[in-house]
């Protein structure tokens, strides 16, 4: 298989790591490697030290960029002893062990030097010198006071104003037009992207890194590699024309206008991210120009960079001083959602309801468990305990099982609310019961998991944990999985013996959900974990923005979870990649549930949110008078949700 010369130098010229934060005005001549996979941890060999002078002329001052092939330095030209003339020295250390590879690398470096020497344009840095010292080659270039466009995008928290990007775009069209009209042969830049565009201290653009600006060989059989993100489809096929540069300029502008890095998206997917859907401040005219540059078929794009500049000038005249503020749109749907009924308890509801045979059961901090008619919310009966009820009741064979902060597990008849039996622990019960194989499993603040016989109400065994257990045990294949407040996580068999243990850095209040493949739960250490159910090895970890006590929910291949950073997350279960995230106005401590194609989740901001579960798009939200910390329950197209405003609401799903 063959690789064209063109692509070879990509590897050589582009893997430059940014050295950040030294000076407020950063100077970067070459693009940076913006991944964080630890490359910064291994600096290239033998960086030149400040104070060293190359060829008795260039006094190295500091490193301004670092890359796979060497560094870029700021240096002072000592041939001008009376003035401080600064230059950029681009270094290439040839580490390739093979002589053929070494030679090719040197040829590419020389080509860049020779090309630059023939170009004269205000937006192209001048070249002053070229030389080699042992295994290192150096280009001496005009030093640019400024910052590259990618850093400008990354260092800004909001969208850059359209008029600023428009001004840069016009200058970039100018320099591309200059290159494309070069005689005898047009020069194709081929690597237009934000990190190759420097904005100098005057606000003018400079195009840097001409390492691959040349013509392609075509018709070579074999595998070729392209740069992802900015290059047009035909460039992967080895076709480089001025129209390829126009596409890449479109991609650069799209990135600048939307702040979405195309290297992190599938190739050629710009049309899936319409500019004005992401940034409503952009004018429709500007969007139209960028879209035309990004046309899939080269013949549908602007014919020349000069044509594109013309179109941009029209945009500039139209929008003029009047920078479009864009229509202000509020929440997609705010009102219109009405409760079917609501019922008010005497204190906060922080738990989750259960529904069975036309009745809704819900615990409250007024110490009661309530039974309500599911159809109209009419009170049926209440059962008093001596502590707040935050656990989720379980209904089985005519009985209701739930724990209370009065330290007891209560079993009452579903129809009349009369006590059947109770079971004492030595601490408040905040862990909801799980029933499996004739036993009830639940945790208590007495630092134990309890297994209680369903028929006798007697303890089968209890397992001592390192701290209070507030999560709900998950039971499958004769194993009980549960996390506790110390961060320890246990797999216990049906005899009450430990099978394996795992330790998170902070408490595990989130309950587990599991599949054949994995156990999923979150921790206050801000991580969503996926563990192998057989041995507790960590399959993957997903970093949440903040701690979470929310219990995940899994549907198809997606996992949903809330966190105290206010987001509801949608995560791919196999790859642990984030699919979407939705921002609520406060912490999400409750848990999401999915019913049909909707996801329901409450937030401490007082709202119950209904989202399209595949995309995270908001369908509607419903406001209550207090924080929601429980989990909604959906049955027969009705959503039931409790709130700290003391009420439980029934809504149409």
């Amino acid at each position: 298989m063959l690789l064209t010369h063109g692509w070879l130098s990509k590897g050589a010229g582009q893997t430059i790591i940014d050295k950040r934060g030294d000076t407020p005005l950063e100077t970067r001549i070459f693009p940076e490697l913006s991944d964080d996979q630890g490359n910064q941890g291994s600096p290239p060999p033998r960086q030149l030290q400040a104070g060293l002078t190359l060829t008795n002329r260039y006094a190295i001052q500091e490193v301004i960029g670092v890359g796979g092939m060497g560094s870029v330095y700021r240096a002072r030209d000592m041939h001008f002893p009376n003035v401080t003339k600064l230059v950029a020295v681009k270094e290439m250390i040839n580490t390739a062990p093979d002589p053929l590879v070494r030679e090719t690398i040197i040829q590419n470096f020389e080509r860049e030097a020779n090309l630059l020497a023939t170009l004269h344009h205000p937006s192209i840095p001048r070249i002053y010198d070229y030389f080699s010292v042992e295994s290192r080659s150096y280009l001496v270039l005009e030093f640019i006071h400024g910052k590259d466009m990618e850093s400008i995008i990354n260092d800004t928290n909001s969208f850059l104003p359209e008029h600023q990007i428009l001004a840069w775009a016009i200058e970039l069209c100018d320099v591309l037009d200059y290159l494309h009209k070069h005689k005898p042969d047009p020069i194709i830049f081929r690597d237009m992207k934000p990190s190759n565009v420097m904005i100098n201290h005057n606000g003018d653009v400079m195009l840097v890194d001409f390492g691959i600006a040349k013509t392609f060989q075509t018709g070579i059989k074999g595998t070729m590699i392209g740069t992802e993100g900015y290059s047009p489809p035909e460039q992967y096929r080895g076709e480089a024309t001025p129209l390829a540069d126009i596409y890449a300029l479109g991609a650069t502008l799209h990135h600048a206008l939307t702040r979405r890095d195309p290297r992190l998206e599938p190739p050629f997917s710009f049309s899936e991210r319409p500019i004005r859907r992401i940034n409503q401040n952009v004018s429709p005219e500007m969007e139209a120009v960028v879209n035309m540059a990004l046309e899939y078929n080269p013949e549908s794009r602007f014919r020349t960079a000069a044509d594109m500049k013309q179109a941009l000038m029209v945009v500039a005249r139209k929008t003029g001083a009047l920078i479009s503020a864009g229509p202000k749109t509020g929440p997609i749907q705010g009102s219109g959602i009405k409760a079917l009924w609501s019922f008010k308890c005497e204190d906060e509801i922080r738990g989750t309801p259960a529904v069975s045979q036309g009745l809704v059961y819900i615990g409250s901090y007024d110490n009661n468990l309530y039974a309500l008619n599911a159809a109209d919310g009419k009170f049926q009966w209440k059962y008093p305990t001596d502590g707040g009820v935050v656990t989720r009741p379980v209904v089985l064979d005519g009985n209701i099982y739930f724990g209370s902060e009065d330290k007891r597990l209560h079993v009452v008849s579903a129809r009349a609310g009369k006590v059947v039996w109770t079971y004492y622990t030595n601490g408040p019960i905040r862990s909801s019961p799980r029933i499996a194989e004739g036993h009830i499993f639940f945790g208590s603040d007495d630092n134990h998991i309890h297994a209680v016989n369903l028929n006798t109400g007697r303890m089968a065994w209890r397992f001592e944990t390192a701290d209070a257990v507030r999560s709900t045990p998950f039971v499958v294949r004769e194993l009980v999985y549960v996390g506790c407040e110390s961060g320890d996580y246990y797999a216990i068999d049906f005899r009450g013996d430990l099978k394996w243990r795992f330790h998170a850095k902070r408490s595990i209040t989130s309950s587990t959900i599991g599949t054949e493949q994995a156990l999923y739960f979150a921790s206050v250490d801000s991580t969503l974990y996926a563990l192998d159910p057989r041995n507790g090895w960590v399959l993957w970890r997903f970093r949440l923005g903040k701690p979470s006590i929310s219990t995940p929910c899994i549907v198809d291949d997606l996992i949903f979870i809330g966190a105290s950073d206010g987001f509801i997350y949608g995560i791919e279960s196999r790859s642990s990649k984030e699919v979407w995230r939705f921002k609520t106005e406060h912490q999400v401590n409750g848990s999401p549930v999915v019913y049909k194609d909707s996801l329901y989740c409450g937030s401490v901001d007082g709202h119950l949110y209904c989202l399209e579960y595949r995309t995270g798009r908001l369908r509607w939200k419903f406001g209550t008078g207090g924080a929601i910390t429980g989990t909604p329950l959906v049955a027969d197209d009705i959503v039931y949700i409790g709130s700290t405003d003391h009420q439980i609401y029934a809504l149409l799903a």
Binding site: T104, E228, F268, A518, W537, S575
Partner: protein, 301 residues
């Protein structure tokens, strides 16, 4: 470390020497017996077995593919732990040394993964591992990326690596080599997605699958190890198919064989090693336009 590596490799079954096995030749009594034994699903010990095959093909002079297969088992009262690492890398770059890249890739990834697991698997007392399988694979691939940029700048390689631990397979994938699940009922399920131009165009609906099959630039990748600024491999964890096979291969194999070819070769051969050789033979019989590499893995018992 070397010692461990030798110990691990010791369990690896060596590929059977090649000899043609035609489909029409009657099976010997011994072969039939082998098939019967092999299909018997009852083993007291659940264990990992594997086979592999490789050929330069009929039209290339150079083999730029590299493969690595480590199959290990630890079993005892504390339970049994199958451990396997399988990698296929298809180098590119011609005179710019695709074979250097693919070789650096498999060695770097395997070295990194083994070093990471060594303290947890081979020490009597070990703390729980504080990194996830996916994080280890991600870091291994990043290290390989740096190694290639150092050893053979400008070249590149595909990489499809499967780490098997217990019943979990964690795959790291970049480029157009592939991993498949092959089920006894004949279903063939690709579990990786090619990072190739042709696949992307097909996904976008610009070309049909038929056009894709005859597309002139089928070899063009948009992501490869050793290339580009942002390394973004696909990394995911799936359960091992039981019953079924995990197959890793380079495009020299999947590019010329149909799904039926794959299932027939896998389900009809008496052993995994033989199945791999049959696959290599079939790819060569179909013209052998490119280097061929294949690894088959089964979790039995």
């Amino acid at each position: 470390m070397d010692k461990i590596f030798r110990w691990l490799s010791g369990n690896k079954q060596k590929p059977t020497p090649a000899h043609e096995l035609t489909n029409t030749a009657p099976l010997s009594e011994q072969q039939i017996q082998a098939i019967v034994t092999n299909q018997n699903p009852r083993f007291d010990l659940q264990q990992l077995i594997s086979g592999c095959g490789q050929s330069v093909g009929k039209q290339r002079e150079l083999n730029e593919d590299s493969l690595l297969a480590i199959t290990a088992m630890m079993a005892g009262n504390a339970g049994n732990l199958p451990f396997g690492l399988y990698i296929i890398a298809d180098g590119m770059g011609g005179h710019q040394f695709g074979e250097v890249a693919s070789n650096a890739a498999i060695r770097t990834v395997a070295g990194y993964v083994l070093r990471k697991f060594h303290p947890y698997l081979f020490h009597i007392k070990a703390d729980a591992m504080d990194e996830s399988f996916q994080e280890i694979m991600q870091a291994a691939v990043s290290e390989a990326q740096r190694a290639i940029q150092r050893e053979a700048p400008g070249s590149g390689t595909t990489l499809t690596a499967a780490l098997v631990l217990g019943q979990q397979i964690t795959v790291a994938h970049i480029g157009d080599s592939r991993a498949y699940f092959i089920y006894p009922d004949g279903r063939v399920e690709p579990i990786t997605r090619d990072h190739s131009l042709v696949k992307r165009l097909e996904e976008l609906g610009h070309i049909t699958p038929d056009e894709a099959a005859n597309y002139p630039h089928r070899n063009v990748l948009y992501r490869a190890l050793g290339q580009g600024e942002i390394l973004d491999p696909d990394i995911f964890t799936v359960g091992f198919p039981q019953p079924g096979h995990l197959m890793l291969c380079s495009d020299g194999l999947w590019g010329v064989l149909t799904e039926q070819d794959l299932t027939r070769a896998v389900n009809e051969a008496p052993t995994l090693q033989r199945a791999c050789q049959n696959l290599v033979n079939a790819a060569n019989a179909a013209g052998g336009p490119d280097n061929i590499s294949v690894i088959l893995v089964q979790l039995i018992g």
